[in-house]
């Protein structure tokens, strides 16, 4: 009985994670400019990974695995935050400095 309830919770949490990943991708495809895409993406995919981590932690076979799951989520959060901030700065500078990043660069 308890196992059935945990399994159902795992399915619900991982499904929620999938929805956030889907939302992030839709934002990445549909939003009109670089900065709003950046904004949609980092929030969505980190929540998505968070829900999947939570769902899997219920199934983990040891505390060891739960610790690793938590570490993975923490690392992904730090990575996404850092990458978003730095890439946004770079896009901003490129716009001001006149180097084209908004147009496709067809150089080889």
């Amino acid at each position: 009985m308890l196992e059935l309830a945990t399994d159902a919770l795992t399915v619900a949490l991982t499904a929620a994670g999938l929805v956030f990943f889907l939302a992030g991708t839709v934002g990445l495809i549909r939003f009109p400019d670089t900065f709003s895409r950046l904004h949609a993406l980092t929030k969505a995919d980190n929540l998505g990974l968070g829900f999947i981590v939570l769902g899997l932690a219920l199934q983990a076979e040891s505390w060891h695995a739960v610790f690793k799951l938590g570490l993975i989520w923490a690392l992904a959060l730090v990575a996404a935050g850092t990458a978003a901030q730095l890439v946004a700065r770079t896009a901003l500078r490129a716009d001001e400095g006149g180097r084209p990043t908004r147009q496709a660069e067809g150089r080889e």
Partner: protein
């Protein structure tokens, strides 16, 4: 549960195909880089789901991917500064 984990991993892969489309169309370098970042995070999630479906030892692969997830973005912002060695936040770079 194995079936659900594999199905979820497959759906996740399909959403990553959308990110590949953004890498292809750009238009800016920042757009391409952020799409690659999404594939990185999505890849961590896919590996975690595979680990739950087949073998928990695979979790170490997700750990390595998460640890190195921002490295390409850091290399990118470095390469985009005027001499390739500055800091995008540095106003005199």
């Amino acid at each position: 549960m194995t079936g659900w984990f594999l199905a979820a991993a497959t759906l996740l892969l399909l959403t990553l195909a959308g990110a590949l489309w953004r890498v292809w169309t750009g238009p800016g370098r920042a757009d391409r880089m952020m799409a690659a970042q999404l594939v990185g995070t999505g890849g961590v999630a896919v590996v975690l789901l595979l680990a739950a479906a087949t073998d928990w030892a695979m979790i170490d692969v997700a750990l390595v991917l998460a640890l190195l997830a921002a490295f390409a973005a850091v290399a990118f912002v470095k390469a985009e500064t005027p001499e390739g060695r500055g800091d995008p936040e540095d106003d005199d770079a």
